[in-house]
């Protein structure tokens, strides 16, 4: 089969690989029909995540057709059209039993601090991902779900991570009616977080980024006010001015390890890998909210320590909430919202690349060329 493989920081190519095999009775092999590149894939691509091995196939956002099932699989059959959450999880451990699917303890031998994720280095379990023609899906009776007939492929693939994560991020913000919510980052997760904030009763939503085309999307797609941080000497002061010197009631950080806005932090974190990513957006969130506020962190960071302004968080009495999204827990409600027209994830798709051109796809997404917001990868279209 053809599969994207990592060759070292900033370098990937498509190679011929063996079709994955059933390794556990509850495995399924999925033929991938559509995949996406996630902003967090860029952290791997840039060499930020420890134990990213040469030959690894990335991709944790994908849908496909069931190609083969293991002997104990009961809920799926060959030919089913399925969507697969980015979390790999057993459904039965202490964590899964309490709905914390992203924190499963039975799937990641390499680390206890994170659950299992497809195609996201050995730090999340060493599973090859879905930017390929086929992928092994463990616990086929637990994670994947059949795609409803009425749902488009684009909406389905965006539900496997970005949409579910953005919506989950708004939930962790504990938004109350009338709250002012500031969302850092106008990528797919931030756009959905902004939209979801309205569903939870926000009175005002402000999206912060520096890319004008993404801020335009935040205004059109998410009905948000926008703030281009590059236009201000100090974005924190501007946020205070715009909120009558209180600061926002809730912040949702949807940027993660490669935040811009402070050259020193960016170079130390994202380029020199001296910390687990650049915490610029997180520090702005801490300083930009009011005292007693809640910060929801959806941006991904590596396990190496970061220069986070924890003292400010303490002294302001902030509540910091964060996790990888337990994707499938969000789906029933999100299916309703998509069906009712409240959310339309497919509107965020800007680019489609054949798998054979995935190097260009990563470069376009990484360098944010050509108005790119969400690139999809289509296997088998060379």
């Amino acid at each position: 089969m053809r599969a994207m493989v990592y060759r070292g920081p900033y370098k990937i190519r498509v190679e011929e690989k063996d079709v994955p095999a059933i390794e556990h009775p509850n495995d399924a092999i999925i033929r991938v029909t559509l995949a996406a590149i996630c902003g967090s894939d860029l952290h791997l691509y840039h060499g930020l995540m420890p134990d990213t091995r040469v030959g690894h196939t990335f991709g944790h956002e994908f849908i496909g057709i069931v190609h083969e099932v293991g002997s104990s699989v009961q809920n799926l059959k060959v030919g089913d059209r399925v969507m697969v959450p980015f979390n790999i999880y057993c459904g039965s451990c202490w964590y899964c039993s309490r709905g914390l699917y992203s924190n499963c303890h039975n799937v990641n031998a390499n680390a206890t601090a994170v659950g299992g994720i497809y195609g996201y280095s050995h730090t999340t379990g060493g599973y090859d991902g879905g930017q390929a023609e086929y992928v092994r899906v463990p616990f086929a009776d637990v994670g994947p779900a059949k795609i409803p007939d009425w749902m488009s492929d684009d909406d389905a693939v965006l539900l496997t991570d970005a949409t579910s994560t953005g919506y989950f991020g708004a939930q962790l913000g504990d938004i109350a009616e009338g709250d002012t919510v500031v969302v850092f980052g106008a990528g797919p997760v931030g756009l959905v977080a902004a939209q979801s904030s309205w569903l939870m009763g926000a009175g005002r939503v402000i999206v912060v980024d520096h890319l004008d085309y993404r801020l335009e999307k935040a205004r059109d797609f998410a009905h948000a006010e926008t703030l281009n941080f590059a236009e201000y000497d100090d974005v924190v002061v501007e946020l205070k001015k715009q909120t009558d010197y209180l600061g926002a009631d809730v912040a949702i950080e949807c940027v993660g390890a490669e935040a811009d806005g402070n050259l020193l932090q960016h170079v130390a974190g994202a380029k020199l890998k001296m910390q687990g990513g650049s915490p610029v957006a997180l520090n702005w969130a801490i300083d930009g909210v009011r005292k007693g506020a809640t910060i929801s962190v959806m941006g991904a960071y590596g396990p190496i320590p970061n220069a986070v302004k924890f003292g400010d968080a303490l002294n302001k009495g902030l509540t910091l909430r964060m996790n990888q999204a337990p994707v499938k827990r969000q789906w029933p409600r999100l299916f309703e919202h998509i069906r009712n027209g409240y959310l339309k994830p497919s509107d965020m798709v800007t680019h489609r690349f054949p798998l054979e051109e995935i190097s260009e796809a990563y470069h376009v997404f990484s360098a944010k060329l050509d108005g790119c917001i969400k690139p999809l990868i289509v296997p088998g279209t060379a």
Partner: protein, 196 residues
């Protein structure tokens, strides 16, 4: 400043209340449909999940085809694990040491894994030179897209453009350093041979 100008942060209530429900509902499709926390799927946090689809208390164990590296914070190798890219060579030895010796709480664990990654990349780049498909930094970095997807146009006026110039250094720097070291070593060896 008169008392009427004092910002909200210094008085009891916000001076600018949020727009009314009617106004927000008219402007935002679906405004407030998840206002009640009970409608939010991740509330409460520790919800006993109904039926996850699991039909086991503890999953059957996946066969271990090689001594699978694992975090020392785990009691055992998890019943299911990834089998992609088993550790091998020098990078494999470094990775195995990181897992066997240091917990996730130790910086040494992560730094060794980062060193393992760099050794892995260099070893594979060098090994690729002896194959019919050597690594190609032009095609593998996708820079062709600079010409097909508006590289210059897309960067105009952007605040992050100043660190984009570092990317070629991050990608090419290690190769340049390696080449300089190799050339110097060869020159030194040549001079030694000539002296004899």
């Amino acid at each position: 400043m008169t008392s009427g100008d004092i910002p909200s942060a210094y008085i009891r209530e916000k001076r600018t209340p949020a727009p009314s429900r009617e106004e927000l509902r008219a402007r935002i499709p679906g405004w407030g449909v998840d206002l009640d926390p009970a409608d939010r799927p991740s509330n409460p946090k520790l919800l006993h999940a109904p039926d996850t689809g699991a039909h086991w208390d503890f999953p059957e164990r996946q066969p271990e085809k090689w001594p699978r590296e694992r975090s020392v914070e785990h009691a055992f190798v998890t019943p299911v694990f990834g089998t992609a890219q088993p550790p091998k060579g020098l990078s494999g030895a470094i990775r195995k040491l990181a897992y066997a010796r240091f917990s996730e709480g130790r910086l040494a664990h992560w730094m060794l894994l980062v060193v393992g990654d760099r050794v892995d990349a260099v070893a594979n780049h060098l090994a690729s030179l002896a194959t019919s498909r050597p690594d190609n930094p032009i095609t593998q970095t996708g820079v062709k897209a600079e010409f097909t997807h508006g590289g210059l146009r897309s960067r105009r006026g952007r605040v992050d453009a100043r660190h984009h110039v570092l990317d070629p250094l991050v990608v090419g720097g290690p190769w340049v350093v390696t080449a300089v070291v190799a050339v110097r070593a060869l020159a030194r060896a040549g001079a030694r041979v000539r002296r004899r």
